[in-house]
Symmetry: C2
Subunit: 511 residues, 2 copies
């Protein structure tokens, strides 16, 4: 039995046990444990890891002494007890990410978390050389979340066999969905730990339709066994998010809506840590009903980014638009927008109080597209997305609320109306972040009462920040409205900001 | 009496008469004439032009001998008769522009007319030096329509007094709305003739709210007198279009909707030539009901350019989006988009079977903004708009029909669906023009049956046209879908086009 006596909060305690290896332990053996610390109790499932080895993992959520007792239908595994001490979290360990303040996220210790994710669906299936390269790239980039599949991927540009298969296979390549392949899972978990070290949340895609091995068309019993095995194995990784599927609607023929609902409920009820749960649509008309209680946040694929404010109202949960189309040049619109457009869409999502996900799909002779396999980033948007993340993190804690029509806004009235269709803007107390998009005002009029604000112009492409001169409007400037229909005109008084006169600027107001 | 014996078709016959100059001839004297040629009859109003001079103008619409008889309550003007011969139109004279084929325009002789207009609201009020400069600029640019006000303009960046006033004024600057100022009209008509010489249609804005002289708030009787004077004076100019107002909705307090309806009906009934008639909204929610029968085409201000196909369906008339926002840098979003964005919006409008209008609003120390006063063009979009015009004129006669879901489309099914949200595309028989917008495909798959098409990639910004290689898809290309959910995928077979791999391209298919 492995003994671990001191465990840092939100890290992993693992109990290793030896038990039966005959028959099919994956089907035959039930194993669970209750972990207790004062009035806290976590009930977790163990799992068979091959060669007669069983494991039970626990992520302690509270400092202090934890005790546990196992329960099993196999006598060798039943009634094992023990204890460990949970020590305080280290400085760079903030715990799992949860929903915070309705539309936003925070780590368990209260630190704000702003998701700036990327997408490498099948990066863990590419072999060590390329996977190490992916990790090196991630270390240089500023992403703090990655969308990744458990299963290998069969799709345009993704034709290669995986190194490891999640289930045992016979000589003809037929999988036995009752027998997991521990080697696959050891590798997968190693990659999860690599991400943890980089501070990157793992947005785990449990099912997807891009399949030639049969993983997308397993029967319901196998699906549920897989889901529970996943919870048992990686629920204790603090940086895991559950994404039920990528493009679940392309699988509706084999997994009807009721089954997706059931999967979500299983996760909701059986993941003792309550990791974030969502599900990602394919067709924009098939967005899952994210108001369902098992869903923690909205994961959406939709290029109609201006709708972010409506989505917030519709779902009352954080909005993460993980596919607003990718920077790239493939034959399909989902992966062929310019870097400029990708950055533009990110800013609109974020400045309106939502979040967005990155992907990169530049065609490559060796089919090494970042979005599919990882490797290296070839584009230009990722740097600007990192710049945007830094701006958010440099601001006050907590997330942005859309500027539109808000009473807190420093841009009320007609000026506020512009935020519906022209600008994107978010506020957080006295902090305002406004994205001007395609507009390149030389002068912008802001109806401030006074000049208490420190104002910066942020060049979202060149990644520069420069202070803006605000000049009090005296009233005789040539650009002001002064006739009756001026009532319909934008707010006409306050301060005139002299801007760099180019598009894709943002303005930051700090009191 | 001026005698003109030979008049080219669609040019101007003018009968000059001397009559009473005492009292107020503008109010006291009625003058009209009937012009006949075979079974054609045109009833036109004459007008007082000051100093006892009266004029009756007629644009003959038919070759042959025309005779006329005048009618007046002033005996000197009554019962005058005469005749002239209408000769064939010269090669560059195609007659007035009318609606053609529901959504498009053509000259009276059947030649296609694609409106590519610009906006210089008050250019005729700037004095000869600047007005000549405007004409010189227009000669170099490729615009074939200009939106221009009759009345002078009071607005941001437009503070100067006009050179001429349309009405007589007293020493205090108060206008007498019963007495037109012939000098103003001579000048205005000279500028109209200058435009005619350049082949530019004059989209005459009859009322507008940008006013400090009282022209926007005249009483109803004066308004109608003005409208009829306008028809009498310039209805015979073949290149005149009637734009009832700019931003009519900002004048609703003084001119309620019923009055606008009445103005339109007067034009509809009393303009013997049936010049094009429309009316331009301010607020996007206040678009005039262009289904009304007096309206010939939709003049709209709306930056939501993707709606062009819906507007076509809603109104069943040609769509001219004359304010999709202007290239410039003023403090207001209506005049602060980049040249790239202006060109992008033009292409979306036009490739979807609509039309668009240009304006340029770069701030200037002397307040010489093209959109207000004319002068010189400083921007970059006008050249690309000219390039687009040339592409349309190089295509088959007639206008484009939106590609979306059309049975004629060479891009049916799923590929056709892309046109709803991703691409803009129009067709005309075997001719297809497709704008790819923000997408920068290296390869694009088109489900062509054969390679009968000559295909070009058009760089809408660099203004280059280059042939595209179409490679028949063999079936094993890495970028193709080949799994079940491929049913939902874009069309997967046909030809692969190798594209220049940059955004803002268009594709042209010609059989």
């Amino acid at each position: 039995m492995t003994q671990m006596n001191k465990i840092e909060k939100w890290t992993r305690f693992e109990l290793e046990l030896q038990g039966p290896s005959s028959g099919n332990p994956f089907l035959d053996v039930d194993l669970s444990a209750e972990f207790r610390c004062a009035d806290e109790m976590l009930k977790v499932q163990g799992f068979y890891d091959g060669n007669g080895t069983y494991r039970i993992r626990c992520m302690p959520t509270k400092e202090g002494t934890w005790t546990y007792t196992t329960k099993s239908n196999a006598s060798e595994l039943d009634g094992k007890t023990g204890s460990f001490t949970c020590t305080p979290a280290a400085a760079d360990n903030h715990g799992p990410v949860y929903v915070h303040d309705t539309f936003h996220f925070a780590y368990a210790d209260g630190t704000s978390y702003y998701p700036f994710g990327t997408t490498c669906y099948a990066w863990t299936h590419q072999g060590d050389a390329m996977e190490e390269q992916t990790l090196a790239t991630l270390k240089e980039a500023s992403f703090n979340k990655i969308r990744m599949c458990v299963f290998p991927k069969h799709y345009p540009f993704n034709r290669n066999e995986p190194v490891y298969y999640p289930y045992e296979r016979d000589a003809d390549g037929n999988s036995d969905f009752t027998r997991f392949n521990p080697e696959f899972w050891h590798h997968f978990e190693k990659r999860l730990d690599d991400l943890l070290e980089l501070g990157i949340e793992a947005d785990i895609i449990i099912w997807h339709p891009y399949d030639r091995w049969g993983y997308s068309t397993m029967d319901e019993e196998s699906d549920i066994r897989y889901l529970r095995y996943l919870i048992a194995r990686i629920g204790s990784f603090r940086h895991v998010w559950w994404s039920l599927a990528n493009e679940y609607d392309f699988l509706l023929k084999v997994k009807p809506m009721e089954l997706w609902d059931r999967f979500i409920e299983i996760l909701h009820e059986e993941d003792p840590y309550g990791h974030l749960r969502s599900i990602h649509n394919g067709d924009v008309t098939m967005n899952y009903d994210h108001t369902k209680p098992g869903i923690t946040h909205v994961c959406i694929q939709n290029a109609a980014i201006r709708n972010v404010v409506e989505w917030r109202e519709q779902y009352g949960k954080p909005i993460v638009n993980d596919e607003l189309e990718y920077e790239g040049n493939v034959p399909y619109p989902w992966g062929a927008i310019s870097a400029e457009e990708e950055v533009h869409r990110f800013w609109i999502m974020v400045a309106n109080g939502g979040y967005a996900g990155h992907g990169e799909t530049y065609m490559d002779e060796k089919d090494e597209l970042w979005w599919g396999k990882g490797g290296v980033l070839r584009g230009e948007s990722w740097k600007r997305i990192g710049f945007l993340r830094k701006i958010l993190e440099d601001g006050p804690a907590g997330g942005l609320t859309p500027q539109r029509g808000s009473e807190q806004s420093i841009f009320p009235g007609r000026m506020g109306r512009y935020f519906n269709v022209k600008f994107a803007g978010g506020l957080n107390g006295d902090y305002h972040l406004i994205y001007l998009g395609d507009y390149q005002h030389k002068i912008l009029i802001v109806p401030l009462e006074n000049d208490d604000y420190q104002i910066d112009a942020i060049d979202t492409w060149d990644m520069t920040i420069s202070p803006v001169t605000a000049k009090k409007i005296e009233g005789d400037e040539t650009y002001l409205y002064d006739m009756p229909q001026g009532e319909n005109a934008p707010n006409n008084r306050g301060y005139a900001l002299e801007l760099p006169d180019k598009p894709h600027l943002a303005l930051r107001f700090r009191k």
